[in-house]
Amino acid sequence: MAQNITLLGASYSDVPSVELPKTGGGTAQFDDTTDANATAADIALSKTAYVNGVKLVGTNQGGGGVDAGQVYQDGAGYIVLDDDSGGKYDPSDATATAADILYPKTAYVSGGKVTGSIVTKSSSDLTASGATVTAPAGYYATAATKSVASGSATPAASISATGATVTAGTNTLTFSKSVSNTPQVSAGYISAGSSGNTSVSLTASIDTRSSSDLTASNLTVTAPSGYYASNATKTLSDEYLLAENIKKNITIFGVTGSFEGGGGGGLVYETGTWTPATDSEGYFINFANSHTTAPFYYAISCTSEFVSSSSGGLIYTNLHQATGEPLHTSATGLRYGYAQRIASGGSNSTSNVTYPYTNQGDSSASYSRYWAKETGINAPQYSSGYPWRAGSTYKWIAVWAPTS
């Protein structure tokens, strides 16, 4: 500090220092330090300085006598003193910028003190538009959320379609119709899942059929196209499809024939055999078919072992033989006998010849069987009274004239 001094009776004003010669030579300068206000803490460690006439030794480890926590420049850049350790921090290599620091925080970086530019944001800053949620740039100290509107997609409750196409397959009937279902959608968030069921109805027309629609011509049955809800049947018939019109044991459309016989030239005949189990006086020959007249010809032969003309093996017919004598007497030769009158009821016979006639004692005119009876003296067993021998097989034939 400059002072007004008096030296050797002379006054000097604003004298900052005095320089005096030293014993032994040289000079010594003396400065006025009364206006200095530094303390030892303000002076770098181990450095000295005169303050108000006192020499101080610095205790500041940062040197220079700066308070902790202060920032000062020592020509090498800005220096920030650590409060605790008093160390120096050189920010010249700091890489942070304002864009890296939250606003309005400040920091010392290589370019000096900066104020952060990162703006703090929150949920209230989020915006939503359609399906887009926007979070503006900034710092979110906590998770930010934004609710969006709920949307919906509702299909039509029902779909009707007429005019479906009907296609008939081998064993299937297919209805087809293309339909579309456009759901009504409201904007917003739609969660996963289903929403509503849509019933679909298809309408197609097809002719329905039943048994009554079947037609028949001879053996051809026609079923018109259409849908049959159940089995359709049609029974074919013919008034002449009768057992008596079909040859015996031949089955035509489930009708087994019973007609026996045949004949050339339109004649109708029947044949049969019988073998008595016991010697018998007579035997009913039953025809297989009903006839409206008596046969005009009949014959009975014996196919058993040989018997003489007097003892058996006789062939009985209704053909007339004038003399009544046998034409031949071989075992199976035909022997003519007397023709017999064929009458209903009663009987007509000779004592020599077998005579078939309608049911003995039956007044009916039905010609369904004949009573073969032998009482003639030429009967093989007449002496025993039973012409039809047990064990002998007799053949018979009856012939009718054709009916118109």
């Binding site: 073998t275 016991t278 009913f284 025809f287 007339h320 007397y338 064929i342 004592s351 007449y382």
Partner: protein
């Protein structure tokens, strides 16, 4: 061919082919025929009926009486053949 058996009074009276009787199979026909041809010999006073089980039952034979119907004359017979007679 249709085979049959005649049942009279519970016995098999005869077997045959053609119409009538109770229809049987050819096998049954042949079986009954074999039984018939093995019938026990009859006598003047006894004969046998064939039961349905194909066993024989003896019975007393009754001599039949001849009919006393008149014999038709040949002319009458010819008339029948020519269709002039009435039934």
């Amino acid at each position: 061919m249709r085979y049959y058996k005649d049942i009279q009074d519970g016995f098999i009276a005869a077997i045959g082919t053609g119409g009538g009787g109770v229809e049987i199979t050819e096998t049954e026909y042949e079986t009954i025929l074999e039984a018939i041809r093995n019938k026990p010999a009859r006598t003047d006073t006894t004969d046998y009926h064939l039961r349905q089980d194909l066993t024989w039952e003896e019975y007393e034979r009754i001599e039949p009486q001849p009919d006393d119907d008149e014999e038709a004359a040949p002319e009458e017979v010819l008339d029948i053949l020519l269709g002039g007679a009435d039934d």
